[in-house]
């Protein structure tokens, strides 16, 4: 039966609302307002998990995001369970289930604890040193290392919770709702700045909220009472938005910040349903005030990791805020005055304080005198040399420090206790400041890194700026805020403040023991089990950089990112290496400050909204007719239309046969379309494409190849001359936006003298393409008035037409090698036109075909697809398209590059056709092509770019790029595959209708 360690003095816990929860399967009770950690402590549970490496018992150590030990698994549902959650940040709710991590079969009896006995054999970098050989054993090692790596269990099913994102803009963002943050927010809002105040806790106030002590008074009131009134006053400020339960995760350049708001994590299970769990706020702030406070440091001494050893300030919060005693016989161990605040709070709440062990010689501050007045025993100039108790501390061993603090002297004293509060001073939370690119400076007298220079419009105030005393916090914050916001804030200028002043300071990074260092376990990183000995070992082995020591020892690399361990690691390295801490620098603070759920990062971009989709106006028809869709850029394009149980191959064979034998119909609406107008439109096209455009007649179409500046093929398409100064350019589907951007860029920067205007009309037109020997007959039924004779309407020409009185443009162009027409009509009529064409083509067995058949048909004709047969390294000459390069034009994009020594090499990879010796063998796209298979290493001469089985030719065909391919026609080569080698012959790229008879039929 666990003890109840709750006292009835807290105003922040609703002791009328009892909440039941389960921890490690056992039902326990807490109150509304509790965290999981406070509720566990109230039930006298300290042991909550096992350490990562040695499986040592570990207990709750802190009360906030810096908690390294109380990392638990929440929930057991396969889709909702969440590992590595800090018990100190989980607000208690009815139905909460949590369990310990990294232990089996239970946290009380953990088989893995055997590691602790072998700990001398597994020091820092054990893995790096041990698992290097024999090299072929790695696969075996990897299996076991992966099995033991990580803490907790990931959910195995999709997350059912809903997450959201929001953008938010403000004049001033204040991060942190402690006393300095509240002063900042109130000042900003009262001076008409649109202000946002965020705090990660459920209520504002920080640590001052429960600071009721004679040594800390403002205007004759206890500081907590004064602050409560200030918080109450915030409600009346119109320009102020307050977001509690909102943790700032990342601070990026240009004052762009990400904050996670917990919306339902604190609600009972039945209240969470259908509500957004967490929202990620994307904040753009004109000015940022960081008021994130400071973290208390632990002390580093032998066996400083036992359950029951806690940060002194956390013990104070548990007693003053949650009304929970962390023990009944508490000892405190400190190097500063903060522990005395805890001692007084405990004493005032009736909890017995054994003694305060202080490494300093003496302190005459107000707070120490108050503790002495209460009769609290103080061991000056003493240190704890050891602790005892396996699953919970039961005693400490104390010795006197030598004058220089490097050793201990005198007799060892033993003091019984069930909790030890430790305080090693304070570390300003400068994480956000450094994330934003700010540079730090080091203050020697209390060993802290502080914000220094920043390029952004931001300041840090309060204890995150190194002000630890109440009077400094208020006075300096007010001055900094006034200057930063350029205001005269009179509200806080004449505050009367009583504040205890810490005068005597002493710091020892690694406290001495009566045992040799090698026989002790002074833990630095509690979560990753790295000790001061590990850091010293790394230094002995030659590591000097803090970044290298961090990675070698894993110090600061756990889920808490070394919030409690980094400063001591730096101190020990500096001390051992004989360098100044300020010169050593810090490791990099990277976002997020505390772990974010994947849900919060992803937001609602899941399922239907995972990626943006574009649909053609004819999409619904394709879907209704059983089309399988392919992603092309963001477009959903009909890929093939299976009938019955057809697979893709069967459907494509049927579709391509039908297109060649009678008629096929394709939705080509996705092609990019750019309307070009202006008196210099022809000159513009001359500069953009490799071929000549000035003489293209009105009503005619021409294929063009567009190059990059480096002479490599960038895009292609057919452009139609609509009238004297009016063209319609088509681009590839995926290249449309980039081509428009590139051309607009050229017009604005390189050719501003040209009178040319571009407008995207990709979405304005639906394009229905009809091809095949019967395409003319079908079109004549759809547009009876249009003269389709070859003389009037030859290949590569266009006509304006009317279909049911709706304007359209008909182009006689072909990407299949068949006689074909493309009809462009306003998108709103696209589906209806498609249906009309389909109806008209029924007597000719018109067959809808998708992109796969389109690719096959064009490959039979040797037509390239930019992006499939090209890869940004192919020139037109490489593609055997020399004919498209005008020799007469003065210039075009990429011209100069076509004559560089590398682009005119004979042995460049060039586009060729490939036929397999076995006509049924279809090559894999991407397969390598070689000339010899026996001589090693095998020289790769090229690869297959497009490959299909052609039902029209009844054999396999392929396009490929091969070194010096132009000169290798008829050459036998090989395509080595996993289980066989395929014999191939290099051929011409055109497999079907070389004379273009079908095109002009």
């Amino acid at each position: 039966m666990s003890k109840n360690l709750r006292i009835i003095n807290s105003k922040y816990i609703d002791q009328t609302s009892r909440i039941s929860f389960k921890f490690d399967g056992k039902t326990l009770y807490g109150f509304k307002g509790d965290t999981l950690a406070s509720a566990l402590l109230a039930n006298d549970i300290h042991l909550v998990g096992r350490s990562f490496k040695y499986h040592r018992p570990r207990g709750i150590m802190a009360c906030g995001p810096e908690e390294p030990n109380a990392i638990v698994q929440v929930g057991s549902d396969a889709s909702m369970t969440e590992p590595n959650t800090r018990a100190t940040e989980i607000e208690l709710y009815e139905g909460l289930e949590a369990s310990s991590q990294n232990c089996w079969p239970s946290v009380n009896f953990d088989i893995g604890a055997v590691n602790n006995f072998f700990s001398p054999l597994i020091p820092a970098a054990f893995y790096y040193k041990t698992f290097m050989w024999p090299a072929n054993f790695w696969k075996l090692y990897e299996y076991f290392i992966r099995k033991s790596a990580g803490l907790g269990k990931s959910p195995t099913e999709p997350d059912k919770d809903i997450y959201d994102h929001r953008y938010l803009h403000c004049d001033v963002l204040v991060v942190g709702g402690g006393i300095s943050g509240i002063i900042a927010a109130k000042t900003a809002a009262k001076n008409n700045f649109n202000t946002l105040l965020i705090d990660d806790k459920n209520i504002l106030g920080g640590t001052t909220l429960f600071q009721k002590n004679e040594c800390f008074k403002i205007n004759n009131s206890y500081s907590n009472e004064w602050l409560k009134k200030e918080i109450e006053n915030l409600k009346s400020l119109k320009n102020l938005t307050i977001k509690t339960r909102t943790s700032l995760a990342a601070y990026h350049s240009y004052n762009y910040l990400l904050a996670r708001e917990n919306l339902t994590d604190h609600l009972d299970l039945n209240e969470k349903k259908d509500k957004i769990r967490q929202r990620l706020w994307k904040i753009r702030a004109k000015k940022v005030i960081i008021a994130t406070g400071a973290m208390e440091r632990p002390l580093i001494f032998n066996n400083n990791d036992r359950p029951g050893i806690m940060l002194s300030s956390s013990i104070k919060k548990y007693i003053d805020y949650y009304g929970v005693k962390c023990g009944q016989q508490i000892s405190l161990f400190t190097n500063n005055d903060s522990a005395y605040e805890t001692a007084i709070s405990l004493s005032n709440s009736g909890v017995s304080v054994n003694s305060v062990i202080d490494i300093r010689d003496k302190s005459n501050s107000l707070i120490v005198k108050q503790a002495e007045k209460l009769g609290i025993k103080i061991h000056w100039k003493h240190t704890v040399v050891n602790t005892n108790g396996y699953k919970k501390i039961n005693s400490i061993e104390i010795m006197k420090l030598s004058d220089d603090g490097t050793t201990v002297v005198g007799k060892k004293m033993k003091e019984g206790c069930d909790c030890l509060g430790i305080s090693g001073g304070w570390t300003p939370r400068v994480h956000l400041f450094t994330q934003s690119g700010g540079k730090l400076k080091f203050r020697d007298n209390d060993n802290v890194f502080l914000p220094d220079k920043s390029e952004l419009d931001q300041i840090s105030i309060g204890s995150c700026n190194g002000d630890f005393e109440l009077d400094e916090v208020t006075k300096n914050s007010v001055n900094l805020i006034n200057k930063f916001l350029k205001v005269n804030n009179n509200d806080y200028e004449n505050l009367e403040i009583i504040s205890s002043k810490e005068i005597d300071k002493k710091n020892i990074w690694l406290l001495p023991s009566d045992k040799p260092l090698g026989k002790t376990k002074p833990f630095l990183d509690f979560q990753n089990d790295s000790t001061a000995n590990d850091v010293k070992l790394a230094l002995r082995e030659g590591f000097k950089s803090i970044e290298h020591v961090k990675r070698y020892t894993t110090t600061g690399m756990a889920t808490d990112q070394g919030k409690l361990s980094n400063m001591h690691a730096l101190g020990i390295i500096a001390e051992t290496a004989g360098v100044k801490m300020g010169e050593l620098g810090t490791t990099t603070f990277r976002p997020p400050y505390t772990p974010l759920t994947f849900g919060a990062i992803v937001g609602r971009n899941v399922g239907e909204f995972f990626d943006i989709t574009r649909k053609t106006p004819i999409h619904d028809w394709h879907a209704k007719h059983n089309a399988e869709f392919e992603n092309v850029g963001q477009w959903k394009r009909a890929w093939y239309y299976p009938i019955g149980n057809e697979n893709m191959h069967e459907a494509v064979q049927r579709e391509s046969k039908a297109a060649r034998d009678s008629a096929g119909i394709l939705d080509a609406s996705t092609l990019g379309k750019i309307d070009i107008q202006g008196s210099d439109a022809s000159e513009f096209l001359n500069r953009v494409y490799t071929n000549a455009w000035s003489k293209l007649e009105i009503g005619k179409c021409r294929y063009g190849l567009m190059l990059n500046e480096d002479g490599m093929v960038y895009d292609d398409g057919v452009t139609t001359r609509i009238s004297e100064n009016h063209y319609l350019m088509t681009t590839t589907t995926g290249g449309a936006a980039n081509v428009l951007g590139k051309l607009e860029d050229y017009l604005q920067t390189e050719w501003p003298e040209l009178d040319v205007y571009l407008t995207s009309v990709t979405d304005h037109y639906a394009t229905v393409s009809i091809c095949g020997p019967n395409s003319k007959k079908i079109l004549s039924k759809v547009i009876p008035d249009l003269n389709l004779s070859d003389k009037e309407f030859p290949h590569m020409s266009f006509k304006n037409a009317l279909i049911d009185n709706i304007k359209c443009r008909v182009m006689r162009i072909s990407f299949t090698g068949e006689h074909s027409y493309e009809i462009n009509i306003q998108s709103s009529y696209g589906k209806s036109l498609w249906e009309k064409c389909f109806e008209a083509g029924k007597e000719f067995n018109i067959t809808p075909y998708g992109t796969e058949t389109m690719h096959l048909l064009r490959a039979e004709k040797g037509f390239i697809i930019a992006g499939q047969d090209t890869d940004g390294t192919m020139t037109p000459v490489d593609l055997q398209m020399d004919w498209i390069i005008s020799k007469k034009k003065y210039d075009f994009i990429g011209k100069r590059s076509l004559y560089r020594s590398d682009t005119i090499r004979d042995d460049r990879k060039q586009l060729v056709g490939l036929l397999t010796d076995d006509p049924k063998e279809v090559l894999e796209e991407g397969a390598q092509i070689v000339l010899e298979t026996k001589k090693q290493p095998i020289e790769m001469l090229g690869h297959v770019t497009s490959s299909y089985f052609s039902p029209n030719l009844n054999k396999s065909i392929a396009l490929a790029v091969v070194k010096n391919g132009k000169k290798l026609k008829g050459q036998k080569m090989f395509v080595p595959m996993k289980n066989k080698t395929i014999n191939v012959t290099i051929t011409d790229t055109v497999f079907l209708d070389k004379e273009n008879k079908r095109l002009n039929a």
């Binding site: 938010l168 909204f609 943006i612 107008q677 306003q826 696209g830 036109l833």
Partner: protein
């Protein structure tokens, strides 16, 4: 007869938010640089193209939105009769494009107009739009070209708590679906 099909054809209402597709609407892209172009547009439309970035000019029938220093977006206030849809385009094309003053391009089906109204429409947009609407929402006629759920849009502040949002037709179904899903949580 060919049938006219707009992509959405729906109106949805949520507490303090109403979203509806409004089509067919005439939309024309106008581009030009010189003074003659501006004069001709003013004469043809009885609206002078606005020169201040992200502003618009309107009359009873038409709105002319600034898109860039040489580009404007014209759209009609009311739905148009399909049979009359080419009239204004032809007249502008003949007077501007054919006379080499600039370009006139019909983009009626390139863009889809979605009307958003209600007191919470800016909250809805903030779910997926990085633009700062704090000044925009108090400036009738203001225009912005921004992203909503990663999709390019033009937004025109038509009235207090009333916006016209233009999205490319191919993206419109996805954006419509996203707007409705987002509206559930406002």
């Amino acid at each position: 007869m060919l049938n006219y099909n707009s992509p959405i054809m729906e109106t949805k209402e949520y507490p303090d938010i109403k979203i509806s597709e409004v089509e067919p609407i005439l939309k024309i892209n106008l581009r030009g640089k010189n003074r003659d172009f501006v004069t001709k547009v003013g004469k043809e439309l009885s609206i002078i193209p606005p020169v201040d970035p992200n502003t618009s000019s309107s009359n009873e029938k038409l709105n002319l939105l600034w898109l860039s220093p040489d580009e404007w977006f014209l759209y009609s206030n009311n739905k148009i009769e399909l049979k009359d849809s080419n009239f204004l385009e032809d007249s502008l094309f003949n007077e501007i494009s054919k006379k080499k003053l600039g370009s006139v391009t019909n983009v009626s089906d390139h863009w889809v107009k979605i009307n958003l109204s209600g007191t919470k429409i800016f909250d809805l947009l903030s779910a997926g739009c990085p633009f700062n609407f704090s000044n925009f929402k108090n400036s009738k006629g203001a225009v912005t070209q921004t992203l909503v759920n990663h999709i390019d849009v033009i937004i025109h502040n038509k009235n207090t708590n009333e916006l016209n949002l233009f999205v490319r037709r191919s993206f419109s179904m996805h954006l419509w679906s996203w707007l409705n899903d987002s509206a559930r949580f406002i």
